[in-house]
């Protein structure tokens, strides 16, 4: 790999993003899939969670309903994910990164920020070279490719990693920051979703150039705390540190629908699948949580969030699902249709403190928990699809 850049020696903040992570893991484990379009997602009526690059060329995108994805790409191989394997691979990648720096801030299983400041002596090479070695090792030793963005802050590093996917290595130096940003749309900013985008557009802000025309005071007055951040980002400034080893505060999963839905049945299926994903991640990392959160976004982007403290921490999908479903029933399905639904677990504690007592009024709960533990063991042995709940097929 040849990288040439004037500031290559002085840039130290990186963002690593695996390429089509779940699909890549599947292709690695089953070479027959290599040249086929692969979609990871749930059932015929589920949604796409990851599409490989071949499927992406055909127009398949994350969160698209499976039937639509299959219409675009009828020969796609659809695989229901194997979260336990992904978690394992993610840990291997994490271990490689930990050899480079203690300042790692994972954003999800397949992406993380790294701060390589002060590691030149240790590794005998500037960060750019160290990172190039990292992706090579990932590819050689784990069989997963990733893209790197290298810059002088987190915002730009994340933007950079997306510039040249897959197997990309992009650099944004201090000198070219302003020129790079000026014509770019503001939706480039991580966290600027469609709702924020709409309110920015109302203020006549589409690009960074638009943003630069605003006074700091005016931005603050119009957008509150986000205004000040926008002012800095417009100038390519981002002073957030890479939060190495930050304790996990919550585990959550959400999905945006391709088409808004008000169907209680469909939403219930999503609540179950999201609860199961959250539970899988909690189980994989030995964690549990005492607060369940349900998040819903309406078609007009207004969002509803409700949370409830459990009597004791849990990592059981059944408990998370039942609590989230209670919250949903409490909110009332009548507020729909919805465009997004999310389930989260917070108040994180180690798993040993979880699920120790039963429920007097729900004597069946102990049996359901035992059944879930048993099917977890079966899935561990025979794969994720060995046992699924009927509910997850909705």
């Amino acid at each position: 790999m040849i990288i040439a850049h004037d500031e290559l020696e002085t840039l130290t903040i990186a963002h690593m993003d695996c390429d089509a992570f779940y699909a890549s893991v599947e292709k690695r484990d089953n070479p027959q899939l290599r040249d086929k379009p692969v979609i990871i997602g749930g059932g015929r009526r589920g949604v796409v969670s990851t599409a490989c690059y071949i499927a992406r060329i055909r127009g398949v995108r994350s969160a698209m309903p499976m039937f639509r994805a299959l219409a675009l790409c009828p020969d796609a191989v659809v695989i229901r994910g194997r979260m336990d394997v992904y978690v394992q691979v993610s840990r291997q990648i994490r271990a490689l990164m930990e050899e480079l720096t203690p300042s790692i801030e994972p954003l999800s299983l397949d992406e993380a920020f790294l701060d390589l400041t002060g590691t030149e002596k240790l590794h005998g090479a500037p960060p750019a070279v160290t990172l190039a070695r990292l992706v090579k090792r990932m590819s050689d030793e784990i069989g997963i490719t990733g893209s790197i963005g290298l810059s002088h802050n987190k915002f730009l590093a994340k933007v950079a990693s997306d510039l040249d996917k897959p197997r990309g290595f992009s650099v944004i130096g201090r000198a070219e920051t302003a020129a790079f940003l000026v014509e770019k749309p503001v939706r480039l900013i991580w966290g600027i979703g469609p709702a924020a985008q709409a309110s920015l557009e109302q203020a006549g802000i589409r690009t960074f150039a638009d943003l630069l025309r605003w006074d700091r005071k005016d931005l603050g007055a119009r957008f509150g705390s986000m205004g000040d951040r926008l002012w800095h980002l417009a100038r390519g400034q981002d002073r957030r540190r890479v939060a190495g080893n930050a304790p996990v505060k919550s585990i959550s999963n959400e999905t945006t629908f391709f088409e808004d839905t008000a169907s209680v049945d469909v939403l219930d299926g999503h609540i179950w699948r999201l609860s199961e994903k959250v539970s899988d991640r909690a189980k994989a990392t030995g964690r549990a949580g005492a607060v369940v959160t349900l998040k819903l976004k309406r078609a007009d982007h207004s969002s509803l969030t409700r949370r409830i403290s459990l009597h004791e921490p849990t990592q059981i999908a059944d408990r998370i699902y039942r609590t989230a479903r209670e919250l949903f029933d409490h909110l009332g399905p009548q507020h729909g249709p919805y465009r997004l639904i999310g389930v989260g677990l917070s108040g994180i504690v180690p798993a040993e403190a979880a699920d120790l007592s039963g429920d007097l009024l729900d004597p069946e709960s102990a049996r359901r928990i035992a059944a879930e533990r048993a099917s977890d063991r079966i899935r561990e042995k025979f794969g994720k699809d060995a046992i699924v709940k009927g509910r997850s097929l909705r």
């Binding site: 009597h311 409490h330 040993e352 120790l356 007592s357 039963g358 429920d359 007097l360 009024l361």
Partner: protein, 372 residues
């Protein structure tokens, strides 16, 4: 309106009113107490729209009338006045101010028109009976600790007061549960309570009711309808909406087949639990009970804070048993026993455990174990 009233009498009446008004409310009039003076008596009325309390107090009425004023502020003022003071409340009906005078202190408080004060609609009560204060005190004091605070299980956020078949006939019964422990308390059925509909009395109402029950000699007039419940003494009338929901069938969760019996001095047991629980932490609140031949070992093992163990002499003749409980729950049910030994009936370490006072079936408690 102009009245003169003793500071102690006023403090009691306003105290009850200010505890009913919601601290954070968006409707200003709900923060106020309605003071109504007729020829000879004064009443203080407060509401949060779910609960209404009216306290009649003896006062010298100089000029009848009515007004409303901040309950919390009036309470604070009266509280700070010297004991034995004579307080005069007066308004001239036009300035929108209430004057509070006592000795050399003089306050002028903003008022809101009495017409704006919401008075709870009266209800047709289907059952009216009277019960001695100590009976109601026992029913609610022994059950209220088990009331749930979970919002989604709103139907558990109160005490279920109803008529049920108990030990030796029909009983007035109070049940509360949060899904982890349950209390079922019986009292003799008062005359006239036969056809009372079962109602869920909200937590806050239970707390307000408690203030009516301190006098051992008092008799409380109870009125019940499907939607409301009223408790009254000659001075105070507490009216409350009941929780609109169905209390779950609790009879299913009271174990009938638990045979492994442990008898223990309730006070010793509670103190021992309290002592060992000192080292329990947020992460491990469990107390382990190991039972073997008249011997009970209570232990707590919290990896991040420490360990504790205590041995107690008990009466136990069954097979060895190890069972864990949430320390707080165990302590709370053990503290309910006030006269006799506590009798615990276990089944297995995963099944609900039953506790009662001696052989008295009129107060039983169920608690769910936890894995240790």
């Amino acid at each position: 309106m102009k009245i003169s009233i003793e500071r102690a009498v006023l403090l009691k009446a306003v105290g009850q009113a200010q505890s009913v008004v919601e601290r954070r409310n968006t409707i200003p009039i709900l923060a106020n107490v309605l003071i109504e003076a007729d020829q000879s008596a004064v009443s203080f009325r407060a509401t949060d729209l779910d609960i209404e309390v009216v306290d009649k107090a003896v006062a010298q009425v100089v000029r009848p009338g009515a007004t409303t004023v901040s309950a919390v502020m009036l309470h604070e003022i009266v509280r700070k006045l010297p004991d034995g003071a004579l307080v005069t409340l007066s308004d001239d009906g036009t300035q929108g101010r209430l004057t509070v005078e006592a000795g050399r202190s003089n306050f002028s408080l903003a008022t809101l028109p009495k017409e704006d004060f919401p008075v709870m609609a009266s209800s047709e009560y289907t059952a009216n009976f009277s019960a001695p204060a100590p009976v109601l005190r026992r029913l609610f004091d022994k059950s209220k600790f088990a009331i749930s605070t979970e919002e989604t299980r709103y139907y558990l956020n109160g005490v279920y007061m109803h008529v049920a078949e108990g030990d030796g006939g029909r009983k007035l019964r109070c049940v509360a549960t949060d899904g982890h422990r349950l209390a079922r308390i019986d009292a003799d059925l008062p005359e006239g309570a036969d056809n009372m509909p079962g109602v869920i009395v909200p937590r806050k109402t239970v707390a307000e009711l408690r203030k009516l029950l301190d006098n051992d000699d008092a008799s409380i007039a109870v009125s019940v309808s499907e939607t409301k419940v009223r408790f009254a003494t000659p001075e105070i009338t507490l009216t409350s909406k009941v929780i609109d929901g169905t209390f779950p069938d609790y009879t299913r969760v009271i174990p009938a087949g638990n045979t492994r019996k442990m008898e223990v001095d309730a006070a010793d047991f509670a103190q021992a639990v309290d002592r060992v629980a000192t080292v329990s932490s947020e992460r491990s609140r469990a107390v382990k009970l190991q039972l073997d031949e008249d011997r009970l070992i209570l232990s707590v093992n919290a990896p991040d804070s420490g360990a504790a163990e205590e041995e107690l002499a008990v009466a136990y003749g069954d097979e060895k048993l190890e069972i864990g409980f949430n320390a707080k729950y165990l302590l709370e049910i053990a503290s309910q026993v006030d006269r006799e030994n506590a009798v615990f009936l276990f089944n297995s370490s995963g099944d609900p455990t039953l506790m009662r006072e001696g052989n008295d079936e009129s107060a039983i408690y169920v608690v769910m174990p936890m894995r240790v």
